[in-house]
Symmetry: C2
Subunit: 236 residues, 2 copies
């Protein structure tokens, strides 16, 4: 089993308040694994046997309806935890996790959780805050879906992605993993057609540069304006 250097993960929010010497004990309970691009890490509805910490790569968490429609719950960036079903008392994963890029994760067995938080209460506190933050983001998303039109929601979504996983280029910010129009549609509650139209429009205005599963924000500032504008403002 690969040994993980504590210094690589010590600064993560999950481990805030855990002493360096203790950290080693926590990591000892984990194993690491690599998931190639486009492979599933776990499936919605499966037994929640493990929880995860993403070290490298990017993971998409998506939820599927009985009738097959999907939404993207979130994109997981390196340093974030996912698959926390057990912490919230769920026996099964409520969503599917897929590596969208070659990804490396740490994996703890669910069964280790009670022992871990007993020994390191900070883990429980930190996880609580993480889940709480996600709840708030979730509410924000509901608020946006309720009050904004599609173009604004797409703008917000891209800005968040850029913020979370943007690679700075001299001519803009590139979203650092493969993402399709369909994915963005599933993040914003619309269709890939509409997303495509919007991005085409932006592209012709020089706001973005985009291609197959690739998006570069050329004018983040002007996209912020789009995201925040009230529905009345008129354009030429």
């Amino acid at each position: 089993m690969a040994k993980v250097d504590t210094s690589l993960v010590a600064h993560l929010p999950l481990f805030a308040g855990v002493k360096p010497e203790e950290l080693d004990d926590v990591l000892r309970e984990a194993r690491s694994a690599r998931y190639p691009k486009n492979t599933a890490i776990f499936e919605q509805g499966a037994d929640a046997q493990s929880f995860f910490l993403l070290l490298h790569g990017h993971v998409r968490a998506a939820k599927t309806t009985p009738t097959g429609e999907q939404i993207v719950v979130r994109y997981v960036a390196p340093g974030e935890t996912f698959g926390l079903a057990m912490a919230i008392g769920a026996a099964h994963y409520p969503a599917t996790a897929i590596a969208v890029d070659d990804s490396v994760v740490l994996i703890w067995p669910t069964s280790a959780w009670p022992r871990l938080i007993e020994r390191f209460p900070a883990l429980a506190t930190n996880t609580m805050q993480t889940v709480g933050k996600r709840l708030q983001e979730s509410h924000t998303r509901i608020l946006e879906m309720s009050t904004q039109q599609v173009e604004q929601r797409v703008a917000h979504a891209l800005l968040r992605l850029a913020n979370q996983s943007g690679k700075k280029l001299d001519h803009g910010i590139e979203i650092d993993f493969p993402i399709s129009r369909q994915d963005i549609a599933q993040m914003t509650g619309t269709t890939l057609h509409t997303v495509s139209r919007i991005l085409s429009g932006w592209e012709s205005q020089g706001l973005v540069e985009s291609g197959r599963q690739r998006i570069i924000l050329r004018e983040p500032h002007r996209i912020v304006v789009l995201a925040e504008r009230n529905q009345d403002s008129g354009a030429a």
Copy 2:
């Protein structure tokens, strides 16, 4: 300060795993208060100085945009906690809480939380599960908003309310607190006009009986059908 009988709250999920004799210690740190109908318990953005447990009545948690639009985050039923900002590491309340009926709550100072969970770790675990459940509900709501049309969403919302706070009558289930079309609109991401039209339609089909801030589901089963139907099914 009013003394709260432990036996009244011992069975609540919040206190699962807390011994009866310990429970008294937890309650000793709280005070109780009564909020008349339509009064605010806390405002979005205010310092999160307390957290709450609802004993009687009903509370609406709502989030407001900078531009004044609102959504209903949830309705709190007796026995549920709310205002947990501190547990999730937020210094300010992310939403406003309003008593929709005369309500009685237990109030703990935020500052007591660290001490409480240290002494009674079960509180932390239980709260974690509560927040986790809310996160999942939130995702479900996003899924619905993304994939279903308004009528189905309204059906789901009413069924949930009936389930959570329904009073059984011989001729149906009544939602046990005052709720307006506007409120339902803010739960489902639509307008009060559309909700009104939908309820009028249902009323003329005998599915519901409704009036000023009052809704009775007469035919819950048939409403379930509405909630679950795929968008293609046609009616006579």
